[in-house]
């Protein structure tokens, strides 16, 4: 049975291989024991933040477990851009027109932007390869959104996920090869790594500051800007089902779409219900259930007709729980081939 709970220091050994998996990007997930320890410390402090105290810097780090084995991770940064600017490219179209020459042409431009500050950002999503199936993917994302729905006052009214961008047949990002590579003189992966472990001064120093004309980028880049990485369709669908949509912003490194959504319009928020423990209706479909504790949350995926979930939720009778139906609509029925996020 899948469950989600706050990461603990004792999870580090299990997290390390997930964080360091070949091909993975998730720049914000620490890769070493020491940095993971520090991240978990921050996370534990965040879960403990008492009600009423608006912790603008909370960062909540979760593990997905299956039969008590850690098989995935996910995290929420409560508010982006607090300590350092949050970088993205904003796409806009300028019009190049001359009445005399009878010319009118659209010129798309990328502007360096810090506009995606103040969002709650999902990040550091990993999943062990044998669990890359619609149920686990949907549960991972929906579960965390259920937590946000329940504890909305700790989070922004807007949510963000930087979805990985299009990759060519060699697994490389055309935008990075056109642009970032030239200024950073390193691979996309190295750049993501540096941008995550060092302060964002690196980006301020190395990224070009001037507006960029898209029509000067390579044709491949132009046609794939803002497109999601191709082998992550189920993840993408999970966000779309929740109401996330590509914004006019893209990732500065790989051109991936910045998916955004109002917290209030999340599918999981709108479809979920709060109920007394005794009042949960019998589930005829997979159901996500969560206790309402901020400090010690536990989120379970209850298979159909699951009879008893009081024990794992660690509740006494008549306490509140929040629950929602698992939504795998639009996801692939066959579970192979989902790539590394």
């Amino acid at each position: 049975m899948y469950s989600l709970r706050p990461a603990k220091p004792s999870d580090i050994t299990a997290i390390l291989p997930l964080a360091n998996e070949q091909g993975a990007r998730h720049a914000s997930l620490p890769k070493t024991t020491q940095s993971l320890r520090s991240f978990i410390q921050t996370s534990e402090d965040s879960f403990r933040t008492p009600k009423g105290l608006t912790a603008q810097s909370g960062n909540y780090f979760w593990v997905l477990t299956d039969q008590d084995q850690v098989v995935g991770t996910i995290a929420i940064e409560a508010f982006t851009g607090q300590k350092e600017p949050f970088y993205s490219y904003r796409r806009e179209t300028l019009i190049n027109a001359s009445y005399r020459l009878k010319v009118k042409q659209s010129i798309p431009v990328l502007y360096q932007s810090h506009e995606l500050a103040g969002y709650s950002q999902l990040h550091s999503i990993t999943l062990a390869s044998e669990h890359r199936n619609p149920r686990a993917i949907a549960f991972l994302i929906q579960g965390i959104l259920l937590f946000i729905a329940e504890h909305a006052s700790y989070f922004s009214d807007r949510l963000l996920f930087e979805f990985p961008g299009f990759k060519d047949e060699r697994g490389e990002s055309p935008l990075w090869n056109d642009l970032g590579q030239h200024f950073f003189q390193m691979s996309l992966k190295e750049a993501c790594y540096h941008a995550s472990i060092e302060d964002k001064a690196l980006i301020a120093q190395l990224m070009p500051n001037q507006p960029l004309y898209e029509n000067l980028l390579s044709n491949t880049t132009q046609s794939t800007l803002g497109e999601p990485q191709q082998d992550l369709a189920d993840y993408y669908q999970a966000f779309i089902s929740e109401g996330f949509r590509p914004s006019s912003h893209i990732d500065i490194f790989d051109g991936g779409p910045c998916l955004t959504c109002f917290t209030s319009s999340l599918w999981t928020k709108q479809e979920s219900a709060r109920t007394r423990l005794t009042g949960l209706p019998e589930n005829h479909t997979d159901t996500i259930a969560m206790n309402t504790s901020k400090e010690h949350p536990l989120i379970l995926l209850l298979p159909q007709h699951q009879p008893d979930f009081i024990q794992p939720l660690n509740l006494t009778s008549k306490e509140w729980i929040r629950w929602v139906t698992l939504n795998t609509e639009g996801m692939s029925e066959h579970h192979q081939g989902e790539g590394v996020l």
């Binding site: 020459l101 642009l179 120093q205």
Partner: protein, 349 residues
Amino acid sequence: MIVRPIQTSDLDALYALAQSVGVGMNSLPADKAYLAKKIDRAVQSFNLSLPKEQASYLFVLADDQDRALGVCGIEASIGWDEPWYTYRISQMVHACQDINIYSNTPTLFLTNDQIGYSELCSLLLHPDARGRKNGPLLSRARFMFIRQFRELFARKIFAEMRGFNDEQGQSPFWDNLGRKFFNMEFDRIDFLTGRGQRSVIAELMPKYPVYSHLLSESARACFGKVHPNTQPALEMLKQEGLRFENYIAIFDGGPVMEAYIDDLRLIKDSIVFTAEALITDNADEQPPILLSNQSLEDFRTTLSFQYRIEGNSIQLPAQVLDALNLQDNQVTVASLYARDQSQLFTMTG
């Protein structure tokens, strides 16, 4: 051969000259009405009846029958009626010492920095007149005029050189930059700029800086590169002291060559002598020198291969003196080529 101010009667000859070249000579299109206007402006300029911002001096190379076989011009001060655009190549360094990363990206910035400069333009020599130093005479005569009437011109002078394009007339610079902002063939751009639509087109060019590494290698190779046919003209300008200062033409990437006028070799080092008749007309040929009279409206520049210098006077063959049409025996002299200059100096002692 002499170089003299253009006259209204030169229109047919100028038209013939303009016809003798093809595309790419966009400041002298084969359009009679347009050329007539240009001549009119030049005539008014030599009369000093135009303000500096409008003055344009055109000269012709004339043979013994006073037929115009070449033309060259100077705009006194450009960029006033409409903006004159160039790209400046500036350096943009991005560096992070912590991880020892350093990149330098030449970047194109659209500017109007040449505003108020004088411009060398419209150089055109009839194929029949090539040889016997007619080309060097024609192009350099302008500097002699500037030397004489320095106050008519600006502090700086420039020449926008024709940029590289291939055998098919395609400009890699245009194809990779300008064309992406409005899809027009280069020869049409060339045509329009010759018809005074230059600034209309310039307004469509990208206004934000362009990082050069986003352009193709062939486009970048055009930065400051001239058309093969223009190479000799480029060499001439370099010898006379003009330099490439990182400005390029916005359409084809050709170099903008510039200098402080007072730094130009021909301005600095030309000398005024008293002219005298050369006694032995069959003297040896020497390195050619440029000679100008002191008149504005009847300005004349010619060459001489025979001369003798003594103190402040120079002896010249009768036909040279004749060609110069001197009013006062004062003649301005400079060696035709920079390499011969020291020789002239040592002769003057």
